[in-house]
């Protein structure tokens, strides 16, 4: 990890912890990565083909898509006829949302599935005991799931960040994935 990545990771971890301290995070799991793969690509044989973008590729994708590329690491599956399934994260209102995106061998979006949706919902809690439950927990453990919250109605939340994320991935295909 170079210095810039280290600083970014540190900043995001700090932000994550602060977010947790102020909110209750609601997480809803929809599909496993395998279920999403079967839905999008059926039984098509695909192999794990993870990608690490170079800094130059990262900047180039940012420039062409106009969307920030936070991570240079791409978790993906690829078929022998060059179809892709990418597991990615986008930001919702406050929290990360896990998605699976199928891209065809022509770089077209075949389907998008949300795997895990996370959102923060109020109830700012300042009691030290409540805060204490997050001490020594890793970033992936910090989500507190409120199982009672099932049906939520509010003013329509835009999915523009997700749309941006998918757009970023089509630019990633255009510049990198199609040559792999």
């Amino acid at each position: 990890m170079n210095r810039r990545d280290f600083v970014r990771t540190l900043a995001m971890s700090t932000l994550g912890v602060l977010t947790t301290f102020n909110n209750r995070v609601y997480a809803k799991t929809y599909l496993t990565p395998d279920q999403a793969k079967r839905l999008i690509w059926s039984d098509l044989a695909m192999v794990q083909t993870n990608i690490s973008l170079t800094e130059q590729q990262q900047k180039s994708i940012q420039r062409s898509s106009g969307i920030r590329v936070w991570s240079r690491n791409i978790r993906a599956l690829k078929s022998s006829d060059n179809h892709w399934l990418i597991y990615d994260q986008v930001i919702g209102k406050h929290e990360n949302i896990d998605i699976a995106v199928g891209l065809t061998n022509e770089g077209k979006v075949k389907a998008v599935e949300v795997l895990v949706y996370r959102e923060s919902y109020g109830h700012q809690v300042l009691h030290p005991k409540w805060l204490g439950q997050f001490v020594k927990k890793s970033a992936s453990d910090r989500v507190k799931v409120d199982k009672n919250i099932v049906n939520i109605s509010g003013a329509t939340l835009s999915c523009v960040h997700l749309t941006d994320g998918v757009n970023r991935l089509t630019h990633t295909w255009n510049q990198v994935l199609q040559y792999i």
Partner: protein, 284 residues
């Protein structure tokens, strides 16, 4: 009993479909895919953003000539016009130019007349015609319609169905169920209340920086208010449209009664983000 829960980005928001029933998971997968396809179809027809959608075509042409409509778009516009008449114009799908002017909808370069309203839209023999140049946006009603349409496709299936299209929520077996209303956009505070009918939709100003503000069609001005309005109705399209009507004018009890709908109005405190949310929960 199998349960399947999926979520996809459609109609500009997150569409969450939950199906439970005595059938295989793969059958539930197939049924959910059929419902998402219906959402995609409605999105393709009624998108204001896409210049190729049926809606964009009628916005371009319906002033010059009558345009034939698909069944879906016809039904939505027909219901919208009925609601416009019943609400004395508080619900009006011709408010789009105001949203374009505020850069909340894309500008396709189509002219509109400043005095045009829903009264200048007519439906005859599956066709639509504008009496003045105007722009229609179905953003205040299409999500609710899509939810209802998905429900109608599963009418013969023995299923428990919950569909939530970004807050436009409908539940098949709703009696005894609760819904959590998001009463504050910033800290996201929720308030759990009983479902009062099969469908509920909520209107508030808290996402206006990237969503739709609520504009009063009669004054053409944005309604600035920190209240949150949820409307319960027999179907989602009604709940969706009526939540805007009640947000603009909350004394419309007669209209709600006539449509078998009720509203709950929430007034969150704004002084402290960590204070409990104070609720004025009023069934009109």
């Amino acid at each position: 009993m199998e349960t399947l829960n999926r979520c996809k980005p459609l109609l500009g928001t997150y569409v969450d479909i939950c199906l439970s029933g005595e059938m295989s998971k793969s059958r539930l997968m197939d049924l959910s895919s059929m419902l998402f396809s219906e959402f995609e179809k409605i999105q393709t027809l009624m998108s204001f953003h896409s210049p190729d959608s049926e809606l964009s075509i009628i916005n371009r042409k319906a002033y010059q000539q009558p345009c034939k409509l698909s069944n879906h778009t016809y039904k939505v516009i027909e219901q919208a016009l009925q609601l416009s008449a019943a609400s004395d114009g508080l619900f009006d799908i011709s408010i789009a130019p105001k949203l374009v002017a505020q850069q909340l909808l894309p500008d396709h370069g189509i002219p509109s007349h400043h005095s045009a309203s829903w009264k200048d839209i007519s439906l005859v023999d599956n066709c639509i015609k504008f009496a003045k140049p105007l722009l229609i946006d179905l953003g205040g009603i299409a999500k609710g319609y899509a939810v209802d349409q998905a429900f109608s496709l599963l009418a013969s299936e023995p299923l428990n169905i919950v569909i939530n299209a970004g807050g436009d929520l409908r539940i098949s077996h709703w009696q005894g169920k609760t819904v959590s209303i998001q009463v504050d956009g910033e800290n996201g505070a929720l308030r759990e209340i009983p479902m009062a009918n099969s469908a509920v939709a909520t209107s508030a100003n808290y996402y206006t920086e990237n969503g739709y503000p609520i504009i009063c069609p009669l004054t053409q001005s944005t309604v600035i208010d920190n209240k949150v309005v949820s409307v319960f109705a027999p179907n989602c399209m009604l709940a969706d449209a009526l939540s805007k009507v009640v947000f603009i004018n909350s004394s419309n009890k007669q209209l709600l009664d006539s449509l078998n709908a009720v509203a709950s109005i929430f007034h969150p405190h704004q002084s402290k983000s960590d204070s409990p949310v104070s609720i004025c929960h009023t069934s009109l």
